[in-house]
């Protein structure tokens, strides 16, 4: 995984985390319109980034489209990545 791929992956990790936060908050505040707007903005960004990642580097989910050969199983897996190597 080169530094450009790692940077995009980290950006996706960040936006996913923002989505976890809005998700949990909205579970107990389902009528908070401001939080919903923030959630939907994150969700749109997440779709854009994961699509860009899939087209460049392969899918982050097994339900995504893949080139041949099946890209889902390509290394590195999440526990194998050196997240600090490009800092």
């Amino acid at each position: 995984m080169d530094c450009k791929q790692l940077a995009l992956l980290k950006e996706i990790m960040e936006i996913s985390f923002c989505l976890v936060e809005t998700n949990l908050y909205l579970d107990t505040h389902p009528t908070d319109e401001r939080a919903l707007r923030i959630h939907n903005t994150f969700a749109k960004k997440y779709d854009e980034l994961t699509n860009r990642y899939r087209m460049k580097y392969g899918p982050l989910m097994p339900t995504s489209m893949s080139k041949c050969p099946w890209q889902w199983i390509e290394s590195p897996w999440p526990w194998e990545i050196d997240y600090s190597k490009c800092d």
Binding site: L9, T28, P30, P78, W79, Y83
Partner: protein, 190 residues
């Protein structure tokens, strides 16, 4: 159902080869108040929850806990993957190593295997949500003990992130308890 996303929730950095610390981190991999207990506890309690907020929060926090379990396993693995047997000998990781090698395994720091007796489900939303709030506080306390003994800055950083998550989960379970309590009071439900 679940679909795996090929990423960690947090970019785990590990700065040392450190079998002794790995052995202690296993507390959150297979201990009573660890991430596996949390995930299985919340996902097990969903069936009888009376409100949509409660069904949602148990599903979503339960799922996040499984992601935390993966982070903990990754920390343990990265702490030991390059260790030579001589670096393991004489450390608290040695007993783990003779059984499991370097693979993370769900037991606590003292080697006691994970068991469903660590968790509970009572088909009683009030009892269960109180258990969940206590579980979050106990997990937070465990993270604070681990942060005190950690001598790896990268690991400490990840532990601080995970500790913060327990604080957020406690908050959400508290809100859920209020919602469920109000709902049950309205229904005069015994």
């Amino acid at each position: 159902m679940w679909v795996y996303e090929k990423k960690l929730q947090y970019p785990v950095r590990v700065d040392t080869c450190n079998p002794a610390l790995a052995a202690m981190i296993l507390e959150q991999f297979g201990g009573a108040d660890g991430e596996l207990s949390a995930g299985i506890r919340y996902l097990t309690q969903r069936w009888h929850m009376p409100t949509n907020q409660a069904k949602g929060i148990l599903t979503d926090i339960g799922t996040e806990e499984l992601a935390h379990w993966e982070i903990i396993g990754t920390i343990v693995w990265k702490l030991v993957k390059d260790a030579k047997p001589e670096q393991i000998k004489g450390t608290p990781f040695e007993a783990h190593f003779v059984n499991h090698g370097k693979s993370p395994f769900p037991h606590n720091a003292a080697g006691y295997a994970w068991t469903a007796t660590f968790i509970q489900s009572k088909e009683d939303p009030i009892a269960d949500l109180h258990e969940d709030m206590a579980a979050e506080q106990k997990a937070r306390a465990t993270y604070e003990h681990l942060i005190r003994i950690s001598d790896d800055p990268g690991v400490t950083d990840a532990l601080r992130f995970l500790r913060e998550r327990e604080v957020v989960h406690f908050q959400r379970f508290g809100e859920t308890l209020n919602i469920v309590q109000e709902y049950m009071d309205k229904k005069k439900y015994y």
